[in-house]
């Protein structure tokens, strides 16, 4: 290798610095209009109404520009983690229970306590719901809606099989009655009684609360034992054996999305879910679905008012005030509330919820009616999940796959879940 000529060397240096400058995208300066980036996941309907609400915000605040971006759940989090890591993260973002603790615990979110009660009004949002946005006692996120657990079912199958599902206010049913109804539908032969719900930690959490336990303790440790999980999974196994629950090859595809759900793909007559997705079910299935509470053998139903999604402000955001302003608008402005409707569960602000529900129809009306009917069974929110929760949720489902395909017994699998979870919580 000979030495480069000075000119060529200079040119190389120039090229290198130019491309370095291109690679590090400049951030906008503080003067002039502020530009916010607001991102969320969800379907087209949610995107449409959210954009309309943002437009309304822009009309009232011409000095704030808002760039919006949305995608499906998985893609959203794939992009979000890389963008945040690369310093190009959004200002206002949407999280769910599994990811809130993940991002708050890793120092990505701004604590909102200094804004609460001032620029960010929360007096119309129930304290229970606000609790779900707290991590280590600080308010890192605010619920973008309220939801609770629900059994969505197609009454035609249950009527045909002569199985009864309680839907009226104040009616309840036990796990034995539930299992009996599902087995009857399964025996009738066209579809399974219910989508096997053993894969999601969410429903295990409900069952645990009925048994006086927790999925996660207040300190962020595990609140259950391998024995608890073994019992839970074995009871579902009994259900699966008689086609009361979907077979393994159907269950393995579950991801919580409406289009893959057992009821929409006509594999099951019912499905446990969150009522924030009911409008999606109605849209994908057509009409005729009904809603029932989850079964319980005790007074405690395990159902709770939960935030299906929360909004948070990034710690690195250069325009926190503007982001909080937009957040406040989305939560508390009647016009925004009217536009957003039940696209993220029923509105968290009680006044707006009453307005939206009064004018509701279709899926939204079904959700409002259900929330009203089950009011006295819905307990306070469970609190945020700790850092590591999203890995635990995934490992839980993966291990359950092994159980339903008969590769490992429920007891061994439960022990493995505990082992993996302890590792994830320690990370």
């Amino acid at each position: 290798m000979g030495r480069m000529s000075r000119r060529a060397a200079g040119l190389l240096v120039g090229l290198l610095s130019a491309s370095a400058a291109l690679a590090g995208c400049g951030s906008d300066s503080a003067d002039g209009p502020v530009t916010l980036r607001f991102v969320w996941w969800g379907n087209e309907d949610r995107a449409k109404v959210t954009r309309e609400a943002v437009e309304e915000f822009r009309r009232r605040n011409p000095d704030i520009r808002v760039e919006t971006e949305y995608s499906g759940y998985d893609a959203y989090f794939q992009k979000l983690s890389t963008q945040v890591a690369g310093g190009a993260g959004p200002d206002l973002l949407q999280l769910d229970r599994a990811t809130l603790g993940e991002y708050a615990g890793r120092n990505v979110l701004a604590a909102l306590d200094e804004y609460v009660g001032k620029a960010l009004k929360v007096d119309r949002i129930s304290p229970d719901l606000l609790e779900g946005g707290k991590v280590d006692g600080k308010q890192y996120a605010v619920a973008g809606g309220a939801t609770t657990q629900v059994l969505v079912f197609d009454p035609t199958h249950f009527e045909a099989a002569g199985a009864r599902v309680p839907t009226a206010a104040g009616e309840r049913w036990t796990w034995a009655e539930f299992a009996d109804a599902m087995a009857k539908v399964g025996a009738a032969g066209t579809v399974a009684g219910t989508t096997d719900f053993g894969w999601a930690v969410d429903w295990f959490e409900v069952w645990l609360r009925q048994h006086g336990k927790r999925l996660y303790t207040a300190e962020g440790g595990l609140g259950f034992t391998a024995e608890d999980l073994t019992r839970y999974w074995e009871s579902i196994g009994a259900l699966r054996a008689g086609r009361g629950a979907t077979p393994a090859e159907v269950t393995t595809k579950m991801d919580g999305s409406v289009q893959n759900s057992g009821i929409v793909t006509r594999q099951a007559a019912s499905e446990i879910g969150y009522d924030s997705t009911v409008t999606g079910y109605f849209g994908a299935f057509g009409t005729g679905l009904k809603l029932a509470p989850l079964p319980s053998d005790v007074a405690e139903t395990g159902m709770a008012a939960l935030p299906p999604v929360s909004f948070a402000v990034a710690r690195r955001s250069e325009h926190k005030e503007a982001a909080v302003k937009l957040l406040d608008f989305l939560l508390n402005d009647p016009a925004a509330g009217k536009l957003l409707g039940a696209s993220r569960g029923v509105p968290p602000n009680e006044e707006i919820r009453a307005q939206v529900c009064a004018a509701a129809e279709g899926g939204t009306k079904a959700v409002c009616d259900y929330e009203e009917a089950q009011k006295d069974k819905i307990g306070p929110a469970f609190g945020a999940w700790p850092t590591g929760a999203s890995a635990i949720k995934r490992d839980f489902q993966r291990t359950y796959d092994d159980v339903i395909f008969g590769r490992v017994g429920a007891a061994d699998a439960a022990r493995r879940v505990i082992q993996d979870a302890e590792k994830s919580l320690g990370s």
Partner: protein, 318 residues
């Protein structure tokens, strides 16, 4: 990748002596560097830089958001001693490589042999067989694959019509990986084109001589075609093996990024991705990437070493 130029003795002649006057040579070099500069800049910024960074990260605990923490060889130690899924992913990928590479090469070679004959419409067939590879490892193909092989999908329906009830292949741990192997094998176009080019290089007179000696088609295939084609086989084998170890898209799409059902499609790069981007363990993921690099490099070296025994270059004395 033809076999002649590399092994002709005269190809190894020393280059002509450099012209006198170092100044002129310097200028020539400057121009060369000038023309090379886009590549140099690209390689430095987009390949070498990130590689060095990932080597450093592999010795740290890095969650993407906070600054990396030096942990020495911890990631590597955990990988080899405390991570069952690492071994499972390594084995799954090995299985995938062992199944998909030979199948893909055999298909590519078989079809290349068929298309090597002058027939009417041969160009059309060549294009048709090459088309799936043009689509490459794209997401759309993998999506189509998932639709074909899922429960109540096309394949399931057709087989059920024939009275064979297998259920959906991608939804069953026993078959899910095989659907990925089939997907890889179906995209045999690139090695096929290279095989075709190799076949065109085999001298006709060898076949004529063999025919006069009374060699049948099988004898001609094993006695002439394959030995003459062996450098091309080596090239394809190395390339496809490296590609198969890095296979990600198909598994990612077919299993919605989970590697399921029951971890049966958890290819190594998919697990690496999960560790990095869903568990926020980027240091660990970087360490996994380097382990993969070392293993693939070692295997490639082994294949090259073994090639002395089975690769035949025209002009060699045997």
């Amino acid at each position: 990748m033809t076999q002649s130029a590399l092994t002709r003795p005269d190809a190894l002649d020393p280059p002509p002596p450099a012209p006198a006057g170092t100044a002129r040579r310097r200028r020539g070099q400057g121009v060369a560097y000038l023309f090379l500069s886009p590549w140099i800049v690209g390689a430095a910024l987009l390949t070498i830089g990130p590689m060095v960074a990932s080597l450093y990260l592999s010795f740290t605990d890095y969650d993407l958001f906070d600054s990396p923490e030096w942990v020495g060889f911890d990631n590597y130690a955990t990988m080899f001693t405390g991570d069952e899924r690492f071994w499972h992913a390594a084995w799954t990928t090995t299985e995938y490589v062992l199944l998909s590479v030979p199948l893909k090469l055999a298909l590519a070679l078989a079809v290349a042999l068929l298309l090597n004959r002058p027939r009417r419409g041969v160009g059309l067939y060549r294009s048709a067989f090459y088309a799936p590879s043009l689509l490459g490892a794209s997401v759309s193909v993998a999506l189509a694959w998932r639709a074909l092989f899922s429960t109540d999908g096309t394949v399931d329906e057709v087989l059920a019509g024939l009275g064979i009830d297998t259920g959906g292949w991608v939804d069953q741990p026993r078959y899910a990986l095989l659907t990925l192997v089939a997907l890889a094998a179906w995209q045999f176009g690139a090695p096929m084109v290279i095989f075709l080019a190799g076949l065109k290089q085999v001298p006709r007179e060898l076949y004529e001589a063999a025919a006069i000696d009374g060699a049948g088609p099988a004898r001609r295939l094993f006695g002439i075609t394959l030995p003459m084609l062996s450098p091309v086989i080596l090239f394809n084998l190395v390339l496809e093996t490296i590609n198969a170890f890095q296979a990600f898209t198909g598994a990612f799409v077919v299993s919605s990024g989970r590697g399921g059902p029951s971890d049966s499609t958890l290819l190594y790069p998919l697990y690496l991705y999960q560790r990095g981007f869903t568990d926020f363990r980027m240091g660990y993921a970087s360490a996994m990437a380097w382990v993969l690099l070392v293993v693939v490099a070692a295997l490639t070296a082994l294949v090259f070493r073994s090639s002395r025994r089975w690769v035949f270059y025209a002009g060699e004395d045997r």
